[in-house]
Amino acid sequence: MKLFQVRGGIHPDYRKDQTSEKAIVVMPLPAALYIPLQQHIGAPAETLVVEGDLVKKGQMLARSQGAVSAPQHAATSGRIAAITEVPAPHPSGLPQLTIILEPDGKDEWGELPAPIENPFTVDAHAIHNRVAESGIVGMGGAAFPSAIKLTLGTQKKLDTLLLNGAECEPYLTCDDRLMREHAAEIIDGGRIMAHALGVSRIVVGIEDNKPQAIAAMTQAASAFPTIEVVAVPVQYPMGSERHLVQAITGRETPARKLTADLGIVVHNVATARAIYNAVRFGRPLLTRVVTVSGSAVRTPQNVEVRIGTKLSDLIDFCGGFALRPERIINGGPMMGQPLPSLDVPVVKGTSGILALTAEEINDNPTSPCIRCGTCVTICPCGLSPVEMAAFIRKDNLETAAKLGVMDCISCGSCSWVCPSHIPLVHYFNYAKGTLNDQDRERRKNDRVKTLAEAHTIRVEKVAEAKKAALAAKKAAAAVTADSETTPPPAPSVQEEKVNA
């Protein structure tokens, strides 16, 4: 297949061999599971259980609420020990409402929804519903509820499902192992998704540093002529969906549009496997494969972990720390987020847990920019990081926005390559956050202004009406030559309050 050039990109030290040649191991039951109500983009789930309830494996513990949300399930059987606030797996470490489940050790399945016997003949809605009730979210890290992305076919004209197996982040090998060990399940899941989307063509994009995964997936897909497995060049950030779509189709997703506007929906390969399990066996999303790696970990490996397992338990399972970790990262080293402690659970979007030493991070104190221009050359989004950072330093966010800071995908290539070790992505994330806040504030102010103007107009109208009434009355009084008048009605206090 002819591939297309993607601008910029970098070749970091991949260090995937720490885990790539070891089979996925299943982690035994931990002492407790901590299941946050929000593990996805959108509204948190709403609890269905109370403290003390006994639950079965696969039972729904919290249901989705709102248009964008996902339910949570019990990853084993046991007792609800508490529903309380626990630090979230987020850089802030802020507490989040979490269901604490004490396993009873029996790991007993509850009643599951019936398997969908022939998923390729059922209505697409049946698949959407099954995926939604199974709590499946994008497992590449973004954790967007998958069911919503599967209904895009009803709104847009689609032609291709792109399964993203690029896995361009260094260290991470969970998708690589999954494709090597469960290729047939991923392909079947992909076919189900394609049916739900109403498309026939499936392309699997895998970076060509994963030859075994490519071979396994090609083998699994060989029976289906509409499925194509494509080896894409190793070039970070190839796994970014816009860039993967460009590499494979040559088409550039316009700014502020989705790849779906080009007719292409991108899903992660691990999501495809989760959908396979949900549709074929009625099993909700209870576990995921996590790459535990980094030089600080004694036994780096890929672990199939129950959602809600505490990181401290997971690290213990991997032999604990051999070296002092400088940082614990949730995700890959390029786009992952630092975690404040190990007292947070694995969630649906946790693709990797990295314990990195200072030597691996290799950061240095920031020195002045020497304008080498490498950041401009390698930016996969065609931005000028050097210029944007200079404006953001001066807090001139408007100019930074004009230069396109909102189009930055925070892939980190510029910070990685910078000889002066300037934390460019940090600048851009700050600018994006502040600009979003300002935008929200502006919209709020606009709304208030519109309402206030409407209010003024209403008050004026009332006053005019009163004046007119008064004038009419006076005229009438003059006609009758009778001076008796009633006081004009007071303006409606209640109405003013409502509109204030």
């Binding site: 816009r242 080293p333 290799n362 020195s367 221009g373 050359t377 930016c379 925070s410 000889p419």
Partner: protein, 360 residues
């Protein structure tokens, strides 16, 4: 564990400003070492004086600005400035030329603008240019090669007298090839004739190898090319600037020489003489003062080549590389503004791309 929150990435390329600067110094070493051999002890003394002055003035400026001196000195940028400026000086110039150049380069061109990364003009070239317009005689007093340990080489005592005592021996001075041809032309002697004066204008092979009169560090096009290729290999620079500078000079020289060989020197002569190679590989490629994008760098480099040719051909000075670079340095901000890459998913004007036609 570090609890401070910052954005990723949590892996970085093993690279630093110091590493970049040191690699450039390494690339300069062969050409400079050859010229120090060629011009003897006085060249070495001037070389050391210039670099030491630059480092000392850098330290003084940083101290004045209340910045940590250690970081700023350890990046080797002052050493590089001193080295490049020394490379552009006549090798037997007196010591104070190096010191004065350092004051202009480091204090005026660099730190007055805010220090490393903030300067608009290439500090080494500012230093050289101020010296050239202020002391034109000294700055054009070239010497023919006097290789170390050869019979004609000045002894250490002589060298001390030359560099620190101001005793420039009259007998050894020579014009540079560019200067000689220009002077002859002003006397009405056509290029075709002056170019054949073997004593003054070395043949192209000698010029390429560097066995000729010239600035300390720029005579050997071959060794500078070697250093430049090393920088390309190390990806410190890209081909855009050096190739465009050299190609422009060559093209202008060749075309005009074809039109009037008596008036215009040939392209290859332009490429091999003066500071062409040093300028193209080491001066015009200075990160701070050249555009950041590749298209910008091409525009910049073509400008440098054109201006250098114009100055060499029509202006009062025989060599125009330093002026050309400085003039284009001044245009760098505006070149940067007009050569930003196209943002992904947007048109050149910054509007979101239209969805393509086949999918309405």
């Amino acid at each position: 564990m570090t609890l401070t929150t910052s954005s990723g990435p949590f892996t970085h390329k093993a690279n630093s400003v110091q590493k970049v600067m040191t690699t450039v110094l390494l690339a300069l070493l062969p050409a400079t070492a050859f010229d120090i051999y060629l011009f003897g002890w006085p060249a070495l003394f001037l070389f050391i004086t210039t670099i030491a002055s630059c480092v000392a003035i850098e330290a003084a400026c940083v101290a004045l600005a209340d910045q940590p001196a250690k970081i700023s000195l350890s990046d080797n940028s002052a050493v590089l400035t001193g080295w490049l400026m020394a490379s552009s000086l006549p090798p037997w110039s007196p010591w104070w030329i190096g010191l004065l150049g350092a004051v202009f380069a480091i204090a005026l061109a660099k730190h007055a603008f805010g220090g490393l990364g903030q300067n608009v003009f290439n500090p080494a070239m500012v230093g050289r240019t101020v010296l050239l317009v202020s002391f034109p005689v000294i700055m054009t007093s070239w010497v023919l090669p006097h290789p170390l340990f050869s019979a004609s080489a000045p002894s250490i005592t002589d060298a001390i007298a030359i560099t620190f005592g101001g005793h420039m021996p009259d007998t050894v001075s020579a014009a540079s090839a560019l200067g000689y041809v220009k002077t002859e032309l002003s006397r009405g002697i056509p290029v075709t004739q002056s170019m054949t004066q073997v004593a003054q204008v070395p043949d192209l092979m000698d010029m390429a190898m560097g066995y000729r009169a010239g600035s300390m560090g720029e005579t050997s096009a071959f060794l500078i090319l070697l250093g430049g290729l090393f920088l390309l290999y190390k990806r410190i620079i890209s081909w855009h600037i050096p190739l465009a500078v050299i190609a422009t000079l060559f093209l202008m020289g060749t075309v005009f020489n074809a039109v009037d060989p008596a008036r215009f020197t040939p392209g290859l002569f332009h490429v091999m003489s003066g500071a062409t190679f040093l300028g193209a590989f080491f001066i015009a490629t200075d990160y701070v003062t050249s555009p950041v994008s590749k298209p910008g760098q091409l525009i910049f480099a073509v400008g440098v080549g054109l201006l250098a040719w114009l100055i060499r051909t029509f202006a009062g000075y025989p060599e125009g590389m330093a002026f050309a670079v400085l003039l284009m340095n001044g245009l760098t901000p505006i070149i940067d503004q007009y050569t930003r890459p196209r943002v992904f998913g947007r048109s050149r004007k910054g509007e979101p791309l239209p969805l393509s036609k086949e999918k309405p």
